[in-house]
Assembly symmetry: C2
Homo-oligomer: 284 residues x 2
Amino acid sequence: MAQVISGKEIAKQLKSELAEQVAVFIQNNASVPRLAAVLVGEDPASDVYVRNKRKACEAVGMESDLHRLPAETTQDELLTLVAKLNKDDAVHGILIQLPLPPQIDSDRVLRAVNPAKDVDAFHPENVGLLVQGQPRFLPCTPHGVLQMLKRSGIETEGQHAVVLGRSHIVGRPLSIMLSQPPYNATVTLCHSRTKDLAEVTKQADILIAAIGKPKFVTADMVKPGAAVIDVGTNRTDEGLVGDADYAAVSEVAGAISPVPGGVGPMTITMLLFNTLEAARGLET
Amino acid sequence: MAQVISGKEIAKQLKSELAEQVAVFIQNNASVPRLAAVLVGEDPASDVYVRNKRKACEAVGMESDLHRLPAETTQDELLTLVAKLNKDDAVHGILIQLPLPPQIDSDRVLRAVNPAKDVDAFHPENVGLLVQGQPRFLPCTPHGVLQMLKRSGIETEGQHAVVLGRSHIVGRPLSIMLSQPPYNATVTLCHSRTKDLAEVTKQADILIAAIGKPKFVTADMVKPGAAVIDVGTNRTDEGLVGDADYAAVSEVAGAISPVPGGVGPMTITMLLFNTLEAARGLET
């Protein structure tokens, strides 16, 4: 049976380390790291996400504000709020909860966020700095995956990592980061147009599933002993299900992360790190 | 014997198309696309590069200026010039010839260029926009390689492309672009830490050599029938030599680009396209 990579446990450990760093920051500076969360409309899932992020912030000693706007908010109104938060010296991180209502151009809003407060690392400037090996912030979910590998003692250097899915939020940045120092993996990025997918995934020492298809990765697609990180969070009749067929794959893999309790808790944790980083960048 | 992918011929064809587009632009606008080249110091190779870029500009009907600064130029002096060119409405593209002298922080200077005039696509914002699938400018050498594949009838969709070398200027952006629409290749990025390199390269339908090691890619590393694009330009006692052992590899490959006469002429050509793109963005 595979080693279970518990994101939940690793996140707990990281948050306890972070709480210490936050305490030191507060001691050395006249301010408390502060995250401003912006929530537009009434999506229940978004509501839960934002509440969890704020709770997590406060649990490590940081502050958070919620800016709740009605579903019919115009783009100009939202941009006005973003401009205000950009200028507010007490705010270190700005989180725009996605999705935004259809009348709003999400790209335009995300690009209006001051890159120095862009704790989701979605701003093109921050994406470019990451690609150039000089990141200001690391994108949260990819960073969480890398921490899970690192803290589970899984070597990446010279290993063949196969990333399934080329999304802007997970697969793409993770494929880039895995192939950079200090990770230095040989990385193959697969997607919907990849031919003979199982032939590729079976070569992976490290397999990242981030395609959003429940139980897509089956045991015959996995090399015996491989580490499998499952980024999928698919809502199904069986509840929350990952992109890998956990029961079957864990018979073959050397290590695997579960869903839930895997990548999910890591994403929020890395957002907290970025908020502290933002405060450090702006205050010190 | 392999089909020869002549960058020289493809570049000639592209430049003739470009000259027509430039003529149309000039007819429809009150201005001529204009590239400002900045050259600091006396490096003879840089001198040749800049001269060739300016000549190529003028050959397609665009204008170019040369700003030549002494080797002892300070960073502030260079930043002042960049700021002036950023503001000059007659200048559409700004090219900072690298390398810059050691007293100058190249990153800082490249980031000072107005992203709308950044025809080398080196600014983090432009790198980020590229990664997010909304490029303002395509980086010149990677774009040249993609045009060589396209205009040689080499299908990329679903094919396995292996990129050797993760440089910020070639390997990294090319690996990203190859895996995006419309190219949609399955891409593996290899580098100095890759284990069993030949095992990986032998799987490539398309092999890109961009590591800067003369004749590094040998025939036994290439799958019969593969397309090999050689980005290497290594100055050796034998003259300019690519990253592939051309004579031997061309016995195995289905198609191969030579050095010289391969990627080299394409890079300049794509810079010209970006200069016209910049003029379109700023004038229309």
